[in-house]
Structures are given as C-alpha cells and as structure tokens.
C-alpha cells in the first residue's frame, strides 16, 4: 500500500513538473500597440470586437485557461495565423482596395460558417453572429462599394484598350510566369466556358474557362478533388454599369489561373494560383507566398475543392 502511494506521488510530481516546464516553452500571445485601428460605425465595431478582435487584432483578451500550455500553444498559433491574414489594429496601413477585399471576405467567411472558428465559438458563444449582425455587416460592405453608373473614365479606358486591340498596337505580353511557377497560357480561349459571373462587391464581369480535364471532371461530377492537370482560367473585366441594369465588360482587369499539381502545391491542396494584371499581364505577387493568400480566400469554397465558380448542379437550376 505504501509502495503504491509512493508511486502515485512520484507520478503526480512528474506530471506537475512536466506541466510547469511546458509553461516555459513557446511564446505567449503578445498584445502590441494598436497603431492604426479600423475606423467603422459603432455597430460594426461592436460586432468586430465581439467576434473577431480576440484573434485578428493586437487587443486579444485571453481567458486564464488560454494562458496555460498546451492550450496556450494552440491559441498562440491561431492568433498569429489570424493576425498574419489581417490585423484590425493595423488596419489603416492597408490600401483601401485591400481593406474592401478583406471586409467582403469576412462577410463571406461568416456566411459560409468558416468564421468564427468552431473551436473558438464553442468556448466564446458571444462571438457567434446573429442574423441582425449579418444584416449590419452586409449593409456596411455594400455601402462601401457603390455602383458608379456610366463611369466615363472606365468607358474611355475600355475604348482605348479595344482600339489598341484592333490595331494590335500594344506589345505582346508573351507568356509571363507567376512567382510560384504558374505560367500564363493563351490556349484558354479554345477551352470550354464553364461559367460566367459578375460581382457587385468589386464591380467586375467574368468568363470562366476549363481545360479538357477540368471540363470533363465537372460534367462527370468528379470534383472532390479535381483530377491532376485540371486548369481553370478566369478572365476578369472591370464592369461598366448602367442604371437600366446593364453590366458590360470594360477594361481588362486580369486573367486568373488555378491549376492542379499535387506535387508542386502541397500546402494548397494541390492548387497553384496565378493572377496576371491588365493587358500587360503583369504577374501578381513578388514571392511564391502569394499562393497562400489566394488559397486562404478559396477556402470558402472547400466543398467544391476550392473552386468558386462551378456551373450549378441540375437540382439548383430554377
């Protein structure tokens, strides 16, 4: 009996020692000063503070158990990841276009149930957004992205690009390659059009193409995952919008590519992304890290192997 008690004592001491030692491993969450915080109406700020600030700002409020390893390690990893995506305490250092893009992404992350993270919401029920919260956020982002009808600057730019295209007066952009190795290909124009979209958040109109592998996979419903070699190209034009509801393609915004190469793009479920801007097809992203930015946003469409614009299944056609 004495031996058993001594053994239990040793084990308990060892566990306490181990847990104590764990507290010295890893960097706990640090709250740096909020140097350029987001400016928004009070009702929007209230939602952001309640649902987003603990991870996406320098004002993380941690519970006592969040500070104890190993929980603190997980919390620290989540907060660092969240702040690297966007930080509401340094928000005003972002360009207006980036801010707008992130705000629409936030709304969509919430609408598709990706945010707040399930593990966080389980222990922080106040972070869950109500229908009213979502309405408030939708109104906020819509107000930030108003339509400009019959935008003459955009019309003139579109006319100029069309004229240059007719006269073939712009130098051929060749086949540029993005920093992650994904190359532009002009072949997409002979591929099948899989869908067309237009957006009122960033005012664009698009045509989406799939190569033979991608188109066949879509038709046969073999999209989870898409087969190796599938390539999808989206051509994006800035849209000219008219009061009568017309949405017309204006200047060329970009050509965007996603291609499935499971060996090269192991961190993004096999997808390599690329974006070539304007008629000059200037590659977006100075380093291969941009691939992560693209993939992070595409996580919203994880149910479709990260592809946003698939044609609707027959049961959703009305």
């Amino acid at each position: 009996m004495k031996i058993l008690t001594r053994k239990t004592g040793w084990i308990t001491a060892l566990i306490v020692l181990l847990i104590t030692a764990m507290q010295f491993i890893g960097q706990p969450v640090q709250n740096h000063p909020a140097t350029a915080p987001i400016q928004a109406p009070d009702e929007v700020l209230g939602i952001l503070r309640r649902a987003c600030y603990d991870c996406h700002s320098n004002e993380s409020r941690l519970s006592w158990y969040d500070k104890i390893a190993p929980v603190s390690w997980l919390v620290s990893a989540d907060v660092n990841e969240a702040r690297s995506r966007f930080n509401l305490s340094t928000w005003d250092t972002l360009s207006p276009a980036s801010q707008q893009g992130f705000l629409w992404e936030m709304v969509n992350m919430v609408l598709t149930g990706k945010m707040p993270l399930g593990t966080y919401a389980a222990t922080h029920p106040q972070s869950r957004l109500t229908a009213n919260d979502i309405t408030t956020l939708k109104k906020y982002v819509n107000d930030l992205s108003p339509a400009v009808y019959h935008d003459t600057a955009l019309i003139q730019q579109a006319d100029k690009e069309l004229r240059q295209s007719r006269e073939k007066s712009t130098a051929a952009a060749g086949n540029p390659v993005a920093a992650n190795g994904v190359a532009y290909t002009p072949d997409f124009r002979r591929w099948q059009v899989i869908s067309t979209t237009n957006r009122f958040d960033n005012h664009s109109i698009r045509v989406v193409y799939g190569n033979d592998i991608a188109a066949k996979a879509i038709k046969e419903n073999r999209i989870n995952p898409f087969p190796e070699g599938s390539t999808i190209v989206k051509v994006v034009w800035n849209s000219i919008e008219e009061k009568n509801g017309d949405i017309l393609p204006g200047s060329l915004n970009s050509v965007q590519i996603m291609t499935k190469d499971n060996k090269r793009f192991t961190d993004s479920k096999g997808w390599g992304f690329a974006k070539f801007n304007g008629t000059a097809l200037k590659p977006y992203g100075a380093t291969p890290m941009f691939n992560t930015t693209c993939f992070n946003c595409h996580k919203i469409a994880s149910a479709n192997d990260y592809v946003f614009n698939l044609p609707l299944p027959n049961n959703e056609l009305k």
């Binding site: 957006r199 109109i205 879509i218 419903n221 509801g245 949405i247 469409a301 044609p311 609707l312 027959n314």
Partner: protein, 145 residues
C-alpha cells in the same frame, strides 16, 4: 442453356456495376461547338447573363465594329438566368439557359444575315429578328490579352 445462363449473369452483374448517372447533382456546361467568346454581358434588372460566341470570321467582324460580313460567319448568343453564388455574397453566376440565338451570314450573300432562335424559356423577346440582330451587334467585343 449454360451459355444463356452465363450471358444472363454477365448482363445482370454488368448492369449492377455500371454507375447510375446522378442527374440531380450533375452539372452541365454549355457546348459552344468550338466557337470562342466574343463578349459577355448581363442585366441585373432582367436577371440575365449572356455570352456571345463566334467563329473566327465572326470575331474579325466584331472587332471591325460588325460593319463587314463574310460568308460563314456564325454568332451565337446564349442567355442564362442569373443565380446567386452561394460561395460568394457579392457575386452572381449563370443558372439555367434561357435562350440561344444564332446569326449566320449567307454563303452567297454575306450581307444577308439569318437569325434563328433555337431555344426560349419563359417570357420575353417579342421583338423581331432585325431588332435582335441590331441588339446583339450593339455589344463591342471584350478585350482579351
């Protein structure tokens, strides 16, 4: 008899192992028959989204402002119903095909254009061929790299 039984078994097992097409979850892609995109446009009030396809002759004609027609030109305007994109609030995506309109230039008299409405669902398009041709040709080609 033995052979008949064998054939019967093979047929039955073959039928069972063949995957049953799931029409509900199948996705259809409009087959443009090798034609390429000339332009695309939409109308949010009418809740329609359209893609104008064409062959090489049609593309050249469109780039020239639809002024000169050559034999063999084929234009095909596909109009879809607009649908919400459930993966991105802020985006619309094409739904079901509403209509397919084709314009061809006659082989012997290319200035004579033939208009054909291949499919039409729901209300709309009470205007005649000339008005439709004029409407379709009012759309400048999109700028491609």
């Amino acid at each position: 008899m033995k052979n008949f039984l064998l054939l019967f078994l093979l047929t039955v097992t073959g039928a069972c192992s063949r995957p049953v097409p799931d029409r509900q979850h199948t996705r259809e892609i409009f087959n443009a028959g090798g034609l390429q995109v000339i332009t695309s446009f939409a109308n949010r009030q009418q809740q329609t989204m359209s893609v104008l396809f064409g062959n090489t002759a049609a593309e050249t004609c469109a780039l020239g402002g639809y002024k000169t027609h050559v034999p063999g030109e084929i234009f095909k305007l596909v109009t879809f119903k607009q649908a919400g994109n459930k993966y991105w609030y802020g985006s619309y995506i094409n739904g079901a095909v509403q209509s397919i309109e084709t314009i061809t230039a006659a082989a012997d008299a290319p200035e004579h254009l033939e208009y054909r409405l291949e499919r039409r669902h729901g209300k709309g398009r009470e205007t005649g061929p000339a008005a439709r041709i004029s409407y379709i040709f009012s759309h400048s080609p999109s700028v491609f790299p």
